[in-house]
Amino acid sequence: MKRNRRISLLLFVVVSAVMLTVPGMMIYNSVRAEMVGEEFKFRIAPRDPVDFLRGRYLRLNVQPEQAKAGPGFADGRGSGLGFATLETDDEGYAAVTLVTLAPPKEKPYVRVETRSWYRTDDSEISINFPFSRYYMNENKARVAETWLVKHGADKTIHVTVRVHNGYAAVVGLYVDGKPIEEVIVE
């Protein structure tokens, strides 16, 4: 009886460790990307919805929404995981050179969700970046939304992201180079 209890407890310790690994890995990948990741600026166009559990956020339409599809996507492969190879363009913003089924070697990349049904061209594929939400305090998010609806069209908005081993950590959301939190206070 006592042996069974010990085995149960041992199994539970293993399960608990695996459970803790899930948020742990999320934290580790984000911290690692923040510390050693390469920085990219993505152009965006925000909107403001609500997440029931996590609060209010600005939905970021991260650009580009389509990119050149690598081998494997041309044969009608459905939505799933892809790897977007990143470069910085002449204006200093992130550009996706290729989306592949496997991570590229020796080039910065980020994991993306691919969506084949929006394809307008066989050589291109739609992508969703893993940082399409920017969480804010609900009152600030409301102000930010109103501000962006009024003034957003005339401004350059970008999200700065640090990328490491495919994982991305959001540094901040910027309007004409200023953090959105400062802009809405002004």
């Binding site: 899930v22 948020p23 934290i27 996590r54 459905g78 893993p130």
Partner: protein, 431 residues
């Protein structure tokens, strides 16, 4: 020696004067029999303890969700480390309690709430860490990972509560698959693998505990929901949109529920009757979800067929329920059977769902308190809470208000059960 239920004893007490009057038993013999049965009275204390513990856990979940909302409202003022600590603390606490429960081989009153809280705490930890680090995440993966890690918890703690959460996560994972317009087999296959993982627990538990228990009933409801959803998904994937698939699922579940309700009546303890209608909440919620999104004037043929079938099924269940209520002479069954009718009216009249749920919840709450039935009273609280949560979360209400409402509901659970326990104890003392 077998226990005697309170209702049976009341019936016997009412029969004694007639038996004496007709000369069937001597007054002294009748008095002796009454004393004998009163001594064997089962006041359901053990079952009530477990039941109150489980309901308290539900109250605790509401309370925790409310506190998280209040904290999350303003927690960008807190350092990141504190926010991460708050996010993972419920999971760590649940795990420590879990280790304690396993080590001390605690009973069901400990096992159930601790095991049920664990997957909920894991889900909350993932969501909140994702918020702290601005990770958009993928709902499908989150539900799949949480369900997979819940599976060993079910077996280690032999927990029906964790099993119900597992089946819910699995079904939500299935719902999330509806977003995939061209899913590959590997993306949908985990749904059926999760199914396979749950089957041994279902067989073991039903074989050991039987079906006519609270646990057995909950297992059947959860299995029914998940199985019917799987079938709805399988039949509807290629031909229907996601709203119609949800309706198809509601229809299938409704059919299964009606079958089980009438075919399985004989094996069911009278106390479980009030819980049988819990099954109705599934189509109610499904309809509430899909009707909000659907626009009847633009329905296509497939949607119209599914809707017509669903309405017919609702009507059939309602009539059958009324006939059943008439046969039993039980007004409660008649009202319970009218839930479907309330839903149909709610589809046309705005806010009717809220008032319908509040009225129905109020009825059960009052009747439960009157008859001192914990099950009926808590069912009333669940209905009222569902109405409030659906209404509050449907609108752009301030997060502080949402948090406070959840906390109030949680405290309501505790308060109602506390007051009821006090009343039961004082009446018992008076006897």
């Amino acid at each position: 020696m077998n226990k005697v239920s309170k209702s049976n004893l009341t019936w016997f007490e009412s029969e004694v004067p007639t038996l004496i009057e007709q000369g069937c038993v001597e007054p002294s013999t009748a008095e002796g029999m009454l004393s004998h049965f009163r001594a064997r009275l089962d006041d359901g204390a053990a079952a009530r303890t477990v039941f109150v513990t489980i309901i308290s856990a539900l109250g605790g979940v509401f309370l925790m969700a409310g506190i998280i909302l209040l904290l999350g409202h303003n927690w960008d003022m807190l350092p990141k480390a504190v926010r991460l600590g708050c996010s993972t603390a419920p999971l760590v606490i649940a795990q420590l309690l879990g280790a304690y429960v396993l080590w001390k081989a605690k009973g069901v009153a400990w096992r159930e709430p601790v095991a049920t809280a664990m997957p909920i705490a894991l889900l909350a930890a993932i969501a909140l860490v994702a918020q702290v680090y601005q990770i958009t995440g993928d709902g499908r993966t989150t539900f799949l990972v949480t369900a997979t890690l819940t599976l060993p918890v079910i077996y280690l703690f032999r927990s029906v509560g964790a099993f119900v959460v597992y089946m819910t996560l699995m079904t939500v994972f299935g719902f999330a698959c509806l977003d995939l317009r061209d899913p590959s087999a590997s993306q949908v296959a985990p749904y059926w693998l999760l199914w396979l993982g749950a089957l041994p627990f279902v067989f073991l538990r039903l074989r050991r505990g039987g079906v006519a228990t609270y646990g057995g009933y909950w297992i059947r409801v959860a299995v029914g929901i998940a199985l019917m959803f799987g079938l709805g998904l399988g039949f509807g994937f290629e031909h229907l949109d996601s709203d119609s698939i949800i309706l198809l699922f509601a229809l299938l579940f409704c059919a299964l529920y009606s079958l089980g309700r009438f075919a399985g009546e004989g094996e069911c303890h009278p106390r479980l009757r009030v819980w049988l209608m819990m099954g109705q909440i599934v189509p109610v919620i499904c309809l509430a979800i899909s009707v909000v999104e659907m626009h009847p004037p633009s329905w296509e043929v497939g949607e119209l067929i599914v809707m017509t079938l669903f309405c017919s099924m609702c009507g059939a269940v309602w009539l059958a329920g009324l006939l059943h209520a008439r046969r039993l002479g039980d007004i409660e069954w008649g009202i319970n059977s009218s839930v479907f009718l309330l839903v149909l009216i709610a589809m046309v009249v705005p806010h009717f769902a809220l008032f319908g749920l509040l009225a129905l919840g109020g009825f059960h709450l009052a009747r439960g308190v009157g008859t001192m039935s914990f099950a009926q009273m808590n069912w009333g609280v669940v209905l009222v809470a569902t109405g409030l949560v659906i209404e509050v979360f449907n609108y752009d209400v301030d997060f502080v208000v949402r948090g406070l409402i959840l906390i109030l509901i949680g405290l309501g659970f505790f308060a109602m059960n506390g007051l009821m326990l006090k009343r039961v104890r004082s009446e018992k003392g008076a006897l």
